[in-house]
Symmetry: C2
């Protein structure tokens, strides 16, 4: 019985890893599309997102079946409940990558952001990809130091996010209203992508160490 249960828990973990693989692909492609105004790649992200949604629903079904069949206790129970949370957060990360791709599509053949902001967004995008990579490795290994690296790295995302606002609120900003709107949305999508990853990292850390005071991320 215990062996079956361990095997089912492993399936849940595999499910999370698979979804995070797809989220990593999504943010990588969305970032490249964003940086190079590549509509084909943007469309690919948009088309692929329902797969993430479907896998998240399937993983939830599996988790619910496990909860019903096994009557897991204590720590195991927390793992399954955490998986339910994480699948929702990963699914949201996929949505945010799709939102970024949709901005690319709307502006094509123009870039979403003007030349003057290109560098900061390249860094913001790279930061999001790095976050998704760390998250993927974290889900594979449960290595707490990866959770810490991810949480630490998110401070840099927030800094870049603030610097985007500083740039568009400075006197040098010559963008029109549409550019201002889309820069605002774009930086918010990247920032929220990081926030969801931090929520997941904190849950993994909590499961591993019990260290985590139960509190939510302040976006």
């Amino acid at each position: 019985m215990r062996a079956v249960f361990q095997q089912e828990l492993a399936s849940v973990q595999d499910g999370l890893i698979l979804i995070s693989d797809l989220v990593l692909d999504a943010i990588r492609d969305a970032s490249t599309a964003f940086n190079s105004a590549d509509i084909a790649l943007a469309d690919q992200v948009i088309t692929a997102d329902p797969v993430i949604d479907r896998l998240a629903v399937e993983l939830d079904e599996l988790s619910i079946q496990i909860l019903g069949r096994q009557g897991p206790v204590a720590h195991d129970l927390r793992i399954v409940v955490a998986a339910l949370r994480m699948s929702a957060l990963l699914e949201r990360m996929g949505d945010l990558a799709r939102h970024i791709a949709q901005l690319v599509r709307r502006h094509y053949p123009q870039h979403v952001v003007p030349e003057s902001l290109r560098d900061v967004f390249v860094e913001l995008a790279a930061q999001s990809v790095r976050t998704a990579e760390l998250l993927n490795r974290l889900l594979r290994t449960q290595a707490v130091e990866l959770a810490d690296a991810l949480i630490h790295g998110d401070a840099r995302t927030d800094e870049l996010h603030r610097s985007v606002f500083a740039a568009i609120l400075s006197e040098d900003w010559t963008g029109d209203t549409e550019q201002t709107v889309d820069v605002t949305l774009a930086t918010r999508f990247f920032e929220r992508f990081g926030d969801q990853a931090v929520s997941i990292a904190k849950r993994v850390k909590y499961l591993s160490t019990g260290e985590w005071a139960p509190q939510r991320v302040r976006p």
Copy 2:
């Protein structure tokens, strides 16, 4: 045993209702603060938000205990799992009300949005309050027609959200960059508030009718 379990399920429902009471207070106060540039009320929303966060964590703990203790099956299990989801969504609605209040605080003594957009935001805010009221009644009564009214009403929110963008992208818009940024954020916060409520309404409907094809909301 069964009676104890029913009592515990009722506690979970009470917990959701209590949190949704506070979310309703939060969006009502945030909306009033937004419409009248009332910083005292905005501060009240900001100060009250951690209570929502704490109650959501406590409700999750209760749900996890129930899952562990009772080994609930089938429909009951789905109710507890849905409660875990709903508490996360309600908590996010509280965050969004707080974000709106934070915009009010940042602009005080000015309004967040200029005169020309005041009416559409009054309606957007009223729509959010109405959504929170419907949600509260839905959680109290589980009446499917309230879920439908809520989901239907969200289309109006989306329409208002789009009309804000149409207004700031028109030639008549004379707002500066800061106003454009904050109008963009404000309309997005109201829109996302509605999206979370729709997610909850769909879950309640699914639990009641089994009708719901498992899919996520497209924001």
